[in-house]
Symmetry: C2
Subunit: 160 residues, 2 copies
């Protein structure tokens, strides 16, 4: 039976070798056969890796994927596996979605915003509203420029 090297599997699945070894180390992939120390995979490993990759892309955590794949009796049908995950995951997803929608709405409202201070946008909402007692201009000055150990850099939240 033909087997594949880790390099070949990685190429076919579109995943780095280091990720494959990592998956093995955390129990997401079974340890494959070895030929004089070298891992030899069967072709279905590629498919399994594609599943893992797809699930990751959808935002599942590795631990959840592991649950889905291995934490059941071997012949447990997918239906039952999904049920186990859905109970705790669906509410979390719903929360995530409403957070994201709220963020989007805030941003879009901000594009038509007439607030004087940014505080109003967050604390009162800056949709078209009766502009009653307009408060003073921003009070808090910018922090002095500084350089500390923790240096924030990138911009994207959440694997974006």
């Amino acid at each position: 039976m033909e087997t594949l090297s880790i390099g070949e599997v990685a190429r076919r699945a579109g995943i780095r070798q280091s990720a494959i070894r990592y998956y093995e180390s955390v129990g997401l992939l079974p340890e494959p056969e070895r030929a004089s120390g070298w891992r030899r995979y069967t072709a279905d490993t590629v498919e399994r890796l594609q599943v893992i990759h797809a699930a990751r892309d959808l935002g599942f955590a590795l631990e959840e994927i592991r649950t889905l794949l291995y934490e059941f009796e071997p012949n447990t049908p997918p239906l039952e596996r999904w049920r186990a995950l859905a109970a705790e995951k669906l509410p979390a997803i719903d929360a995530l979605i409403s957070r994201a929608m709220a963020m989007k709405h805030l941003l879009m409202a901000g594009l038509k915003c007439q607030c004087t201070r940014i505080e109003e946008c967050f604390l009162e909402g800056c949709d078209p509203k009766p502009r009653s007692r307009a408060r003073a201009l921003p009070i808090i000055a910018a922090p002095a420029p500084q350089q500390v150990g923790a240096s924030p850099r990138s911009g994207a939240t959440c694997q974006g």
Copy 2:
């Protein structure tokens, strides 16, 4: 003028002291006055912290909040600040939302799934479909239980 200790500010804003010091260190809060070494805050700092907290809750990164709050001329209206952020943030949010929706749909489809193997759910989709050539049962066995340096624990993805 009355000032507040860091403990009092933390209590009122519902944020840990350590977080407040951290915000100061990364330029999200200006350095306050000191009385013999101790930070003394004015009341508006509480409001500013609430804004930061609200923005975090919505999923904004600290760096983005810093942009919003400080990276403009002092009298720049919120409208203009939002515009700067919206251009790069809105697409990211949309992507996040569709990922989350896709995850939700997959989970809900899984609850009515008739697939034999979990691979089908991901790679073919497990909506009611013509059950043509049903493939064999799961081929890949679970990895042997193992204990490695990297030990996955929690469950929630993405600050959930």
